[in-house]
Structure formats: C-alpha cells, structure tokens
C-alpha cells in the first residue's frame, strides 16, 4: 500500500467532490431556509451542480488515471458515463420540479437525495475495486429507496419503496457474497489484481463469485429473471422518480457491469458469456411479452426498460470493443428518449389530477397535436423503427453481436424487437385512432419543452449520431 500520498491528483476526483460537497452545502441551505422560493432555489442549484459535475468530468480530469491505490479509476468510459448520468439526472430533476410543487411533495430533501444518488453512480462507473464498487452501489441504492417512498402518505409509494428496499437488500447480499468469494479465491479486491489471479488456471470459486456479482448487478439493471420489482416500483413511485429510475441508475449499473466483466474477468469471457446470453434473452422476451397486456403507461415503460436492458446485455455479451461502444451509444439514446417519454407522461394531467392509463391518451393526437406527434416519435424511436435514432442504437448492438459470432442471439433480438414494436405501436394507435373525452390541462413549461425537444430530437439528431459514436468509440476502447 502506498501510504505516502494516496491522492496523487485531486482533479481526478473533481466530479465526485463537487457532488458530495455541493449536496452537503445544499442540505445546510435547505435546513436553514423555508418556503417555496427557497425550494426552487435549491432545485436550480442542484441542476447547476449536476451540470457542473458533468462538465468537471469532461474538462478537469485530464488524461485520467488511477487514484487511491487503484480503487478509483478515471478513464474515457467513466468520463462518458458521468457526462450522460449528470445530464440525464439534471433533466430528471427539471421534470420533477413542477410535479412536486403541484402534488405538495416539494421538500428540499428530494434534490439532496438525488444529488447523493448521482454521487453514488459516479463512484460506480469509476469503481476499480470490489469495495469501491459496493460503496457506490449502496450509496445510489439507499438514496433511490428513499426517493421511491418519497410520497410517504401514499400507500402505493410506500409499498414501492419497501419492495424496492427488500429486494435491493437481497441483491446487495448476493453482490457481497460474490465479492467475498472472489476475494477469498483471488486474494485481492482490486480489479487489476483479480484479472491477474483469474488469468491463470481454471478457478471454480472465482467463477461462482463472479456469477453472484452478475446476479446482484442484474437486479440493479432489472434484467430478467431479476426484474420482479420493476413494474410495481415504477408504478408506485412518484412519476418523476420513475423517470429518474429508468435513466441514470440504469446507465451507471450497466457501465459498472461492463467494467466488471471486461476488466477483472476479461480473461473468462467463455465462462460469463453464457450467463449474460441467458439474462439477455430472458429480459428481451419477458420485456416484450409482459408489456403486451399492460394498461398503465408507467408499467409499460417498466417492461420496455426490462427489454431494453436485454439489448444492452446483448452488447455486453459481444465482449468486444464494438460491443462496448455500441452499448454506450444505445444506452445514451435510450436514456434521453425515456426522459422525453416520461415528460410526456407527466403532461397527462386532467382537472382532477394526474392520469397514467394508456386509454387516457385516446385521441390526444387531434386534441393536442404537439404532445401526440412528440410521443409518437419517441415511441417509434424507443421501439427501434428505422429513421429514428433508437434504430441506430439497436442496429449497432446487433452489429456488435454478429461481429462476435452470436448469430442466434442476434436473431432472437430481432424477433423480440418485432414483438415489442407491437406495444409501442398500440400506444400510437390509441393516440391517433381512438376516441376519448379526457381533456388534459396545459402542461408546465419544462414538461412542454422537454417533450417537444425530445420528440423532434428523435429524428433530427440522426446526423449527429456520428458525433456520438465518435465519442463512444474513444470511451469504449478504454476497457480493452
């Protein structure tokens, strides 16, 4: 152990220190101020903090490197992930502001917990040691459990929080058990040392540990068969919390999973590829068929999230440079499309309050063309129809799988993609062709803007995908 100076370069930690320090400062501000104005100020400052952390990751970390004896790594992949996580969390907070005020949930702890969760995610994507991995996972999950139950007077939100907490604790147990096995059989918690230890002989103990770690992380990305909590938690939690759940934490967990599989266990591809293969097929299948019968749009998005995690796992199963950058491209496009979709869901407000049934969208394309067109474009994009950006994401994932010789997996992915297109198209059909008498009240400015911008972006950003791919390729090559 290097005891002389563990912090060689303080700037490598700039995003995390900004987020943690900022969260504590805002906590003080929240405790000693009162009223709606102060709450709005804290929201704006938190959004600024998240953007600042993303910028700090981009510009202050230089060429990257290792900190704390290799427990914390800053490489292009971590930087890419931190930028996406910071931006999407800022957007999710922007979505939450009007909702929390109108539902009388505006308490400053929401913003603080969200910023602390993002701190945990930044630690996850930079984890290069089993202990720092667990610390990051636990910091973000604990904050997310509280956010799920944030509306504590609602029975459904409390149930969602409790369910998420119990199953999350179980998954943390699996993760820790796996980590302890890996430590026991390799003698180190550092990813670099583990990679050396497992590169030699065939090590059953380490494989068992690795499978447990994969299961623990599969809970966090809600991959089947560890997806049971997802629909209930997505439905029960307040909608902006659901929007947050479906974006930044997923991105952080999938990047962490990719790093764990590619770095310490990069030499054991043949052992873990089958596990990831099964997880991917089950997720895509359960996501596609489970969504067909859903009536609630939040539950529909939960199943959509499960199936999209399946495609992300296809990219990981490819276990190649192409797989990694296509994973980053796919997930980035997915995260921002989901933010747009949830912004549309948050615009579904009648005089009586929020509605979230798919039937409530009936005929909305005629009554509210902007919302109708935007949601249509977003549904097509998430469904992966050609000429929308979502198609590009899925296309490169499949390309990576074919390049790695995973033909059966690619064929299954295409088939399930066709099935899942059915329910995205059902939403579009309800919006355009059904008659409905539900009248929405005008949406708040931020919901209005984000829905429209995301809808337009799902077509117009096509020329810029090249730029995204360019950045993702530099990030994706970091791990190999």
């Amino acid at each position: 152990m290097n005891t002389a100076n563990p912090i060689e370069n303080i700037f490598l930690l700039a995003p995390e220190m900004l987020l943690a320090g900022g969260a504590m400062a805002l906590l003080m501000l929240g405790v000693f101020t009162k009223g709606q104005g102060a709450n709005r100020l804290i929201s704006m400052l938190s959004i600024g903090l998240l953007i600042a952390a993303a910028l700090a990751a981009l510009f202050l970390t230089g060429d990257g490197g290792l900190v704390f004896d290799g427990a914390f790594v800053v490489d292009p992949m971590a930087v890419f992930a931190k930028v996406v996580i910071g931006t999407s969390a800022a957007l999710a907070l922007l979505l939450a502001m009007p909702y929390l005020e109108s539902e009388r949930l505006a308490k400053f702890e929401y913003q603080i917990l969200l910023v602390l969760a993002v701190t945990g995610m930044a630690m996850m994507v930079s984890a290069n040691d089993l202990i720092s991995m667990y610390m990051g996972v636990e910091l973000q999950s604990l904050a997310l459990y509280v956010l799920a139950a944030f509306n504590r007077d609602s029975l459904r939100a409390s149930e969602a929080g409790l369910k998420y907490f119990v199953l999350g604790a179980l998954s943390s147990g699996l993760l820790l058990y796996g980590a302890s096995l890996i430590y026991g059989f390799t003698g180190s918690t550092g990813f670099a040392d583990i990679a050396i230890a497992v590169s030699g002989e065939y090590n059953v103990g380490a494989i068992v540990g690795m499978v447990f770690v994969i299961c623990g992380l599969a809970f966090k990305i809600s991959a089947a068969p560890f997806h049971m909590w997802t629909p209930d938690v997505y439905e029960g939690a307040p909608t902006p919390v659901t929007a947050f759940f479906a974006t930044a934490p997923k991105f952080a967990a999938i990047v962490l999973l990719a790093r764990v599989l590619m770095e310490p266990f990069g030499g054991m591809v043949d052992q873990w590829r089958d596990v990831v293969w099964i997880l991917a097929v089950l997720s895509m299948g359960i996501g596609a068929f489970g969504a067909l019968t859903q009536q609630n749009i939040k539950r529909l998005m939960a199943y959509s999230s499960i199936s999209n995690m399946g495609y992300a796992l296809v990219a990981i199963a490819a276990a190649s440079t192409i797989g990694l950058w296509s994973l980053l491209v796919f997930m980035s496009i997915y995260v921002f499309s989901v933010i747009g979709t949830f912004s549309a869901v948050l615009s579904m407000r009648t005089r009586e309050g929020m509605v979230e049934q798919i039937d409530d969208l009936a005929g909305i394309a005629q009554k509210n063309p902007g919302l109708g067109w935007s949601l249509t474009a977003l549904m097509f994009s998430i469904g992966g129809l050609p000429f929308f950006v979502g198609f590009i994401g899925k296309f490169f994932v499949l390309y990576a799988a074919v390049e790695s010789g995973l033909i059966i997996l690619s064929v299954l992915a295409v088939l399930f993609s066709v099935v899942s297109a059915a329910y995205y198209l059902r939403v579009v059909r309800v919006m355009w062709f059904d008659e409905g008498e539900v009248e929405f009240v005008p949406a708040s400015v931020s919901h209005y803007m984000i829905t429209r911008i995301a809808g337009i972006a799902s077509i117009l950003t096509l020329p810029f995908v090249g730029w995204l791919i360019y950045n993702a390729t530099t990030a994706g090559t970091a791990l190999i």
């Binding site: 906590l27 603080i112 602390l116 945990g120 720092s132 509280v146 944030f150 003698g187």
Partner: protein
C-alpha cells in the same frame, strides 16, 4: 503460561455466557449475559495485542448497543415464554438444519487451505513500531480514506432518509426555541404591581 490461562478463562466465559444468552428465560438476563460475553471478547482482544479494539468493544457495544438492547427489552412488554411455546415441536426440523450446517462447515474446514503467508500475518497484528491507534488510523485515513468517506456518505443518506420518511411537524406541538428563551427579558414576562395594604389588585 499466564497468557494461555487467561485465554482459556476468557474464551470459556465468552462461550458459556453466549450459551446463556440463548437459554436464559428472562430477556433482561440474556442482555446481561451478552454484556459479559462482550467483556470476555474484549479480554481476548487485549491478549491479541489489540488494546484499542478492546476499548472500542467495551465503549461501543457494552456502553451503547447493549444498553439500547436493555432499554428495548424493558420497554417492550414482550412475553418471550409465549413466543418460544412452539419450540419443542420444531426441534426435529431445527436439528436437521443444524446437522446440515455442521456437515457443511466440516466440509469447508477439512478442505480449507490457508495461504502460505497467513501464519506470519497472524503473528503481527500491528506493524512493528506502531501503536494500535496509529495502525488503525493509517488504514482508515491513509490507505482506505476513499472507502471510509464513502461509508460516511452512505450513513448521511441513511440519516436524511430516516428523517424524510418519518419526521412529521405537528401543528399543535410547541417546539423549544433556545434563542427566544435566551432573549426573553424580565420586563416582557413579569409585571410588578405595587399593592397597597387592604386594597387587593382591584379588578
């Protein structure tokens, strides 16, 4: 010689008192035996040369955790005799699980191979020339500072979460405001009235 005598005494008391925690009828007695067990374990730590951990065990576990247990046990009126009423019927199942666990432990114990450096590491609990506190401090604040700070953040989230989910401001509860109390002056609170003999206040 004396050290091994002390080891047998401390470990014997620790095991016996741990057994008594489980079989004592009164829960208060269980907690008392738990404290005895903690103190014996602290003695074992002293024998290992880990004085600081021994002190921590007494201060944290005996001083805080066991006292908390005692409060909970005394305040909650739980009839433990009633809770353990079904004990006899479940003994076969319990015994089966115990046997399975024992066999598993034996299998692990028989196949276990210690690392070659393990014996040397066990002999030197702390590095030479460093006191306990220094060795722990080096670990926590130099080598593992990142994990230590991250654990602190996790605890902060837990605290915020507990407050968010449970604290309710009731409108009719009067809360103490120290600043108001300190700033209160005699003129605001007390009125001095000069009462003439035989007149009363007059109202």
């Amino acid at each position: 010689m004396l050290a091994s005598l002390a080891f047998w005494a401390f470990s014997g008391v620790a095991i016996l008192s741990a057994l008594m925690v489980v079989i004592a009828r009164s829960p208060v007695r269980s907690v008392m035996f738990l404290i005895l067990s903690f103190i014996s374990a602290a003695g074992l730590f002293v024998l290992l040369g880990a004085e600081f951990l021994a002190m921590l065990l007494i201060v944290v576990y005996v001083g805080a955790v066991a006292v908390l247990f005692l409060f909970v046990v005394m305040m909650l009126d739980v009839d433990f005799a009633e809770l353990s009423a079904g004990f006899a019927e479940n003994i076969p199942l319990g015994a089966l699980v115990a046997v399975v666990l024992a066999v598993e432990l034996l299998m692990i114990g028989l196949t276990w191979e210690s690392a070659p450096q393990a014996a040397a590491l066990r002999a030197a609990v702390t590095p030479d020339g460093l006191s306990n506190v220094e060795a722990l401090g080096t670990l926590l604040y130099d080598d593992y500072i990142y994990f230590f700070q991250a654990a602190g953040l996790v605890l902060l989230v837990a605290m915020i979460g507990a407050i968010v989910l449970t604290l309710r401001h009731k409108p009719h509860v009067r809360r103490q405001n120290v600043a108001d109390q300190v700033q209160r002056r005699a003129e605001d609170a007390v009125e001095l009235i000069d009462i003439k003999p035989g007149q009363g206040i007059g109202e």
